[in-house]
Symmetry: D2
Subunit: 278 residues, 4 copies
């Protein structure tokens, strides 16, 4: 582990009003990806690619297994409704705080005023780009908080009658914070990030995605750069869209100009191939 | 699909006060397990075992892959806190109702009076064997219901101000009902059942387990019987426990008596082997 | 199951010289995808999309879980070296013929003359586009076959000395045929097909992919069409490639022309968004 | 990582005649299991269990998720037929040497003389307990080696005509060595070991299992001890077997004697519960 990554271990990345992401441990770095890829290619290829080129090649061509050779472990504190979206990523290991064994804590998520927004007009599952006016937002925030206080009071009261914890907690809201250890390989972390730092993801999970993206960027800088270039900021075009692009592009830049604009020699050829009429 | 199973498709098995399990579809039956096992053993073994014996042999010796060849799909309506335990079983396919796309419904779980119980004295994660007295239980039930009504009222009110659904729902409690389609293979269903119809599982998930167990029993009767005999009602003894049993058992019944008591000839020999001093 | 699909069950799709793919069973069809997707969207959305549009929307936006609700089971006979590539797809259920329990059969893959080709000059992992000349190809084929006969003879001879099957088989070549039952959900089948009917996949696994693609096309025609349009014949462009395309495209067709060329109204807007300068 | 584990990293554990297992990296140790378990139980339980007791409790009660928090990465060189058994464990990450990209090496497995044995009379899938006589064994070994030399010669010859590597290799035998990086969490490693260091596993995979068991024992001594006591050397008894044991055991030792014989107070009570008549 480099000193830079070592310095990140245990550091709290604050998320939302009371949550966090902390890196607990990481196995491997960019060189672990290269090491695993090279066992596939055998000794004959050892000098052909340098590391960055190899990692970018693997990412571009969806050779995903070498990225599985890096593993991250995080400690996360998050509202239950975020945990419910997060857990849908099945290829990960999880140990969560249990409301059956232990008392849930008096911590609930209240959105910041600028996140108190109307239903999106465009997007059936999202919120609008603008927040409610300050007063209206504040009144909603206050009301949310009062409800949470009241619910936690009821919870405490039920526990004081010795009602079983596993029953007493059923009226706690999904804004209640929970925590877990979460362990995942880099390939599946990238898949998580791709879906969860996307503009269509709910804001409240996006902030966790962004914190983990920052950590990943420090831990595997070459792989993260490749992920950004070839996955995160890439776009896929359907068969019909490709036909439209092909017929609309009159002339394409020649190979040397493509390279001047940032493609490798190999990518430049691949690029022209993709735009070739079938 | 036999007529008996066909008759189960779509039938609501009521669970808790407002939930259900419905079988949507099933691929394969006992004979699909046998068919898959026989591809491993090749044609030479076709007549050696009859189906029941083969299925029992596979279950007993943890040859689990043939059980993966049967697949079930269920439609389930369940409280969020049950869904959170359930989803920990990762080897399954899930589509859940979304509180971002759609309004959550005015349906909440309230435990029956006989489930309103104290914290267990023995079991840090469970409830006592006896319910609270009727009056105390009823007062807790009434209070829970009032809180749920109040929370749903607040939710509706927030939606009426056009607050985004994905925010408005954050104070809905984990007693709120959700629903999903859940698809799983038989091996993993057995694993789910083993953990979730166990006395240590929370009562509220156990009732769902029991409904699915009833369906599985009808759909794969031989496999279910083997599951009961070799897994569900079996016990594992540690190295030290085995030593104690071995030294405490003075004489074991002879092979013919073991068979008279229900073991097959092969099982009788395996039984004696397991109890042999190392 | 439609009559068309019913007619496919059990039918041998010949693959290579002695292999096959046979559909054993299928759970669900296009409507099962729609059914699962609609549980997510809730009742409010039931009439908004018609089925084809919904399926295409799900595929385009990588909402993959509804596609997991369809399940296929195949019986496959294939050379060991193909089985070794195939098994890398982990999200599937497998029961394979066992060379420990049973004798391996006297069936080996010999490539057709037109597949006897030189190492590709372009592609470190592939073969050239042209076959060797007929005579040279035939001499290689003959030599391969003689070696296989000799190896099977040695195997039989060792078995006749009562050498354990699990040892006797270790010099059988990876061209030896094996068979298995293989069960997979549609989402993961599409992932398999995307990688294995691609021109970079080894020819010998591609023919199996193509057989299963034909079966999938008959069983879930709408999903298969969407898979072809949005995944199989789509292309992804990296961040840099996108910048080049954006700056090279002088003017884009207006919305109505885009629709005339085959995009839906929604896709046309999405298309322009993707090509918008950041 | 302790110094003892650090000293194991990179060390070759020889397996069979030309293979090995090498530990490449490990994330976590016994304390990582405890750390993850305690997030479930919450702060209230921190002092109740000491580490060893907690780990043994988790193992005994199949609370498997904390064991997933430790991750191992191995570099393994192994014959193809062993790789084919190994790869059936799907919950792992793999990068294997590719016979499409690179030339296969001139290394083949030849069993030691004492492993050249007859088919087992008892076990359809295994070999006998005694080796063939020395002369017969040696003659089989020599013949195997000659065949391997001949096959590698043919392979080289085909490559020299520029036949594509992916075709030329199809007559190489499953005794040919390959290598891979293999990464797995501790829970799944224990599952692998349970099946593969068992007497029913093929000898050739068992030696790899034993090498990894030795490494695991050094890296997570408390967890490994619990695995041995509660899983590896434990036995499961079916419903009928339990009834026979219960009726045959006249009297059980009292609690204090059970503890004197090695059970904890809690285990002693659990033991009596398991043997109680239903």
């Amino acid at each position: 582990m480099t000193e830079e990554v070592q310095a990140l271990v245990g550091k709290e990345f604050r998320c939302l009003d009371k949550g966090f992401v902390r890196l607990i441990d990481v196995m491997g770095d960019d060189s672990a990806i290269v090491q695993a890829a090279r066992v596939s290619y055998g000794s004959g290829t050892k000098k052909v690619h340098e590391d960055r080129g190899l990692i970018r090649y693997l990412m571009r061509h969806l050779h995903t297994t070498p990225f599985e050779m890096v593993e991250f472990k995080f400690h996360v504190k998050l509202p239950i409704f975020v945990a419910r979206q997060w857990i849908r990523h099945r290829t990960a290991n999880v140990n969560e705080y249990s409301g059956r064994y232990s008392e849930m804590k008096d911590e609930f998520y209240v959105p910041d005023a600028d996140q108190v927004r109307a239903q999106s007009a465009m997007n059936k599952q999202g919120r609008a780009d603008e927040a409610f006016d300050a007063e209206r937002a504040e009144s909603i925030r206050t009301s949310m908080q009062q409800t949470q206080d009241m619910l936690y009071g009821q919870y405490q009261e039920m526990l004081s009658t010795d009602l079983a914890r596993e029953i007493a907690r059923i009226n706690l809201p999904v804004s209640n914070y929970t925590e877990w250890y979460w362990k995942i390989d880099l390939h599946n972390l990238f898949h998580f990030l791709r879906l969860r730092i996307d503009a269509h993801a709910q804001y409240e999970i996006r902030v966790y995605g962004e914190a983990m993206a920052e950590i990943a960027k420090a831990a595997v800088p070459l792989a993260y750069e490749a992920f950004e270039d070839y996955i995160l900021h890439a776009q896929r075009f359907s068969r019909t869209e490709l036909e439209i692009i092909r017929s609309t592009l009159s002339t394409l830049p020649p190979l040397d100009e493509l390279q001047a604009r940032g493609l490798s020699a190999r990518e430049a050829r691949e690029f022209l191939d993709k735009l070739q009429k079938d």
